[in-house]
Symmetry: C2
Subunit: 338 residues, 2 copies
């Protein structure tokens, strides 16, 4: 089959690869209904992460099971499933504590920007829907698999509660999903940092109440001003740079919480800085599996529409253009039709 | 009067200074019933913090109010009071959220290794007892002011719950108080890292269930072994070095929490390290004021005996020997009789 391979910075190709097959009795093979490009795919695409060998890309997926290994019990061929970008047995102590993305058997999905993908630990990773979902729900179900799950985790890790004042650092797809999540969790006020018109509009649509266009210290000062000099109760860090991380920490009130989900690049935090900031910090790869049943239900009942975050849709053969569009910020997030 | 002044590394003197007086209408002057030396006093004493000018030492205190400023309403001369090492108005938004040590008006106490001390923001900082406490309770009431309050905060920040498995990094006075706090909060298991016999014994007396003598990676491996390869639910970091901080983070399970109260010196944490560790982190100067009423009550009703942490008692004139004894680890904590 053809699949997406990154050969080096800026060099992504849709090319011939071996079709995935069952390698372990806990595997499943799915035929993807749709797939997409993640903000985190841009790190290696931009040369900010080393690519030593051709890398199969893609870790967000939903689709129909076509084959399962002999140990798989909870999903079967023909079922529509959504899974997490981090596979999990959903049984180890970390999984039972709700941190499936730190599962003892965790693997990170790869190769899902393709028509077929192998999903390890199928029983603990995939959630099947009762019936085949309507076509128009596919973008939203695909979003659940990572971008919504990650924004949701950012809000969860930042301890958003009914009535919270929330700040979101980053107007990428994850940040926008963070806005949606914070509102679903009952936040009163959701301030997003953005200077990009289309992203601002989508943020408002997802429930943002305030937009801050300033950055760095000026951005923090503006958030302080908007919160009566107090700072936000909860801050969602959805970028991963040193500037965004410090901005997020500085924007929270003492005792407030930062959920950080942007994969950090070049971030170092000083001990005394963290100490005297006196703020809760929790980040990491999102344990999407914990949220899957709830998020799938919110989508199927049409209470949320995370799929709107895809503002570019391309046939998967044009995947290279999808990367370019996101790299140049012409697109927020690219959906690939397979 | 005579008071304790640090002139430089290793050079602490009990010498003549001006007696404290009311500087602001929110001040109180107290006559100390007892005072003590803090582990954090050893940083400048050891030359690990620069001392540019003679520094009045001491920030832990309890005693009797002798004078109050014109705006002070809740305490009056003759009352026995306990206060926090961080002063607070107990009214600003941060105080109302329970983070009085980040109060908008915070000052850090100084000069309390002396017969008299000025306490700024008396109304928001001091808690008076209903009557004069028994003499034998003074060490424990003094402990409430910082060392117990800080150990308690470490356990609170690390989210110790009934049934938790807890690890304590550091067998200094704060670590030992952390053991006491974790048990009071219902921890099932409290593992302390210590290789010092007297401290181990006191830890066991305060409720530690396991002692780990290994350090660094070996210490982490031992904690993992003791917790069925999972890691601790809650870790109390009570030292402040790079090694202890990494040890604390590594000893927690994914999704677990680290409460760090050792003032960090030379600590830098990598963003990806924190991200992939996926653990809650909260530290800072303890908001002792939040805990004062509860902790005073636990002491007065003799349900806890934090005062046992003082294993050396000296007349305050011998304060220099008190510092030496703690520096050389001959004493866990020195109480100074005034």
């Amino acid at each position: 089959m053809l699949a997406t391979i990154l050969h080096g910075p800026g060099d992504v190709r849709y090319e011939d690869v071996a079709e995935p097959g069952i390698l372990k009795p806990t595997d499943a093979i799915i035929k993807l209904s749709a797939t997409c490009i993640c903000g985190s795919d841009l790190w290696p695409y931009r040369g900010l992460e080393t690519v030593n060998a051709p890398r199969p890309m893609g870790h967000e997926y939903c689709g129909v099971v076509v084959e399962v290994g002999s140990d798989v019990k909870t999903v079967r061929p023909g079922q529509f499933v959504v899974g997490s970008f981090a596979t999990s047995d959903n049984a180890c102590p970390h999984c039972r504590h709700g941190f499936q993305s730190s599962c003892e058997q965790r693997e990170f999905m790869a190769g899902a920007q393709a028509p077929y993908a192998r999903v390890p630990l199928a029983d603990g990773t995939l959630v099947a829907t009762a019936e085949m979902p309507a076509d128009d729900l596919l973008p939203s179900l695909l979003a659940v698999s990572d971008v919504l799950g990650t924004g949701w985790y950012a809000a969860d890790a930042a301890r958003v509660r009914p009535g919270s004042t929330v700040a979101v650092v980053g107007d990428g797809a994850v940040g926008l999903m963070g806005v949606l999540a914070a509102r679903q969790m009952g936040a009163d006020r959701v301030i997003i940092m953005s200077r990009h018109k289309r992203r601002q509009e989508l943020a408002l649509e997802y429930g943002a109440t305030d937009i801050v266009t300033e950055r760095g210290d000026a951005g923090v000062a503006r958030i302080k001003e908007l919160t009566g000099a107090v700072g936000a109760d909860a801050v969602l860090e959805c970028v991963g740079t040193s500037e965004s991380m410090h901005q997020a920490i500085d924007a929270a009130r003492p005792g407030g919480s930062i959920g950080f989900v942007g994969v950090p690049h070049g971030v170092e935090l000083g001990g005394q800085y963290l100490f005297f900031s006196q703020k809760n910090l929790l980040g990491g790869p999102a344990p999407v599996r914990r949220f899957l049943p709830q998020l799938i239900d919110l989508v199927l009942s049409r209470r949320i529409n995370p799929g709107k975050v895809f503002d570019l849709e391309l046939p998967i053969a044009d995947v290279a253009e999808g990367y370019r569009a996101m790299d140049e910020r012409r697109a927020i997030k690219t959906l690939l039709r397979v």
